[in-house]
Amino acid sequence: MTLALPSTRQEAWRWSDLSALPTLAEQAPRGGVIDAHDFWIGDGPRLLFIDGHYDAGLSRPGPVEIGRTGDASDHPLARLAGGDGWVLTLGHDHAPSGTIEIVHVATGGASHLPARITLAEDAQASIVETFVGDGWANRFTRIALARSARLMRTVRLLQSSGFQSIREEAAIAEGASLVTILLGAGAAGTRIDAALSLDGEGAFAEFGGALLARGDQRHDANIVLRHAAPGGSSRQIWRAVADDSATDSIAARVEVARGAQQTDAEQSLKGLLLARTATINTKPELEIFADDVKCAHGCAIGELDKQALFYMQSRGIPPHPARALLTRSFVAGALERIGEEAVRDAVLADAEAWLGEAA
């Protein structure tokens, strides 16, 4: 397949920098011996993918199967992710024992991998995906949640270089709940895309996280969240931190269809500039075709509170830890929404590690 990438002249891609992708797409991964030991959090099912290839020897997949997902997307990056991938199908009222962990290690080049998550009525699962290494990791995940199913997803984007592109498409039925929380740290560029549809009455969707960028790193999120049925609620809580000449961009759109009355949608897009040379773009959008809805949206970009910094220093905390503590408290608002303590702690530690690296 030839690599046809969207141009920044297209509105949804205006803040993206995909310029590294054609070169990465032509390179071969280096491969080699991989030690993913540091990236596992718990003792539940785990899957290791190296450059998009399943490593059966270092995995214990539990209920997850490897095979064709049968899904296709017309999304410009997701459409590249065909072929075999991972599939989680849970029957009525089923829940796997423990959090499912998936670690994606990239060793250069490009890898494309699809995934499908299908939860029947009342089924529950929690999945953590961790991206490390370098190269281009391109992923497409299709999610279908039946009535009252619950899925918690945590995505740690920690590659040290290269590019991570994530596309999530989800259909959420009556009373079902999907929560996806992402952390963009590391040093690689990122593109996060999501199209979530609250199809059933009283469905819940949350999609948000923290994007930490420094150097000339770019994180770019583009979310469309559609309320198609009455009584649904949604949250998009994002915290963006940019230092040096880095750029974070978040376009978050809420659509409320005709008839989706009593929708309760909340958007909170906040940015923290650690340097005057950094950039944070936010684009909250609302498109509402129902008349009895509650849509709250807040957008704020600022710098560290100088008063708080002096207060902390006057108590003995040196400038760098004081800045890190304030920055951590800023991003914690988005990451504390991760339900499981061990996962939340791991993600907060990832953020901490990023903050600790600042000079």
Binding site: A308, F310, M312, P318, L326, S329
Partner: protein
């Protein structure tokens, strides 16, 4: 001598506020600075604390034998200086416990001391919180967020008790306190700081605080300098006759 200020000049936004202020405090003494609005009382506390934007244009300040003005704010804290804020700052997302433990251990590190363990720190914090009538639950909440004015001032005293400084500069610690809270805070100041080798500089508008924390010396600050100094009786004189009369 714990603090020696000589001919201190300082400006804020290019505007001179302190104009040749001199003041000496010995170990074991409590000094009170009183003065009308705009005299430079808060500026003095911020200059001594090292707040950015408060520029020293002349004079010197020596703290426990060191050039205070050459130190960064966190180094001044580690050297034993505590600044009690008139308006304690709210820090959402950072708990009091986390904040104070980080502060105390940063100070200890700079002084070449071992960090305090979590258990030892919590015992210390609990003791100070109990003495000031703040619950541990409040200490687990974000710094000053949702605290009343009185609770914020009591929290300042809890911090002072945990940090255990050599010199406390308390900027209008009495403002916004009712009589009961004033008594609790004053008892805190006496309990923590009325010890040999420790000194206090109280900055206040009113005599009331001085009924509870008895100063050894009282100074009148007007137009950026100390214009009169005396014993505790000077505070009563000020209360009776007003600043204009006494400072004249």
């Amino acid at each position: 001598m714990i603090l020696k200020i000589e001919n201190l000049n300082a400006e804020v936004d290019g505007k001179p506020i302190l104009k040749g202020l001199s003041l000496s405090i010995n170990a074991g003494e409590v000094h009170a600075i009183m003065g009308p609005n705009g005299a430079g009382k808060s500026t003095l506390s911020y200059v001594l604390g090292g707040r950015p934007g408060y520029e020293v244009t002349g004079g010197s300040a020596t703290f426990d034998g060191q050039d205070l003005l050459a130190l960064d704010p966190h180094e001044r804290a580690a050297a034993g200086l505590f600044l009690g804020f008139q308006y304690p700052v709210e820090i959402p997302g950072v708990s009091n416990v986390q904040f104070l433990r980080e502060a105390l251990n940063a100070q200890r590190k700079l002084r070449g001391e071992e960090p305090l363990s979590g258990g030892d720190f919590l015992r210390l914090a609990r003791g100070q919180a109990d003495a000031l009538g703040l619950s541990m639950d409040m200490l687990k909440r974000p710094v000053n967020v949702g605290f009343s004015g009185g609770e914020k001032k009591r929290n300042e005293m809890v911090q002072m008790g945990i940090i255990d400084p050599k010199l406390a500069i308390l900027d209008e610690t009495d403002s916004g306190l009712d009589i009961d809270a004033l008594r609790v805070v004053s008892e805190g100041i006496n309990r923590i700081m009325r010890k040999p080798g420790k000194s206090v500089l109280l900055i206040t508008h009113y005599q009331r605080l001085l009924d509870y924390v008895k100063p050894d010396f009282v100074h009148v600050l007007a137009a950026g300098r100390i214009v009169k100094s005396g014993g505790p009786e000077l505070a009563l004189e000020l209360e009776r006759e007003g600043y204009a009369q006494v400072a004249a």
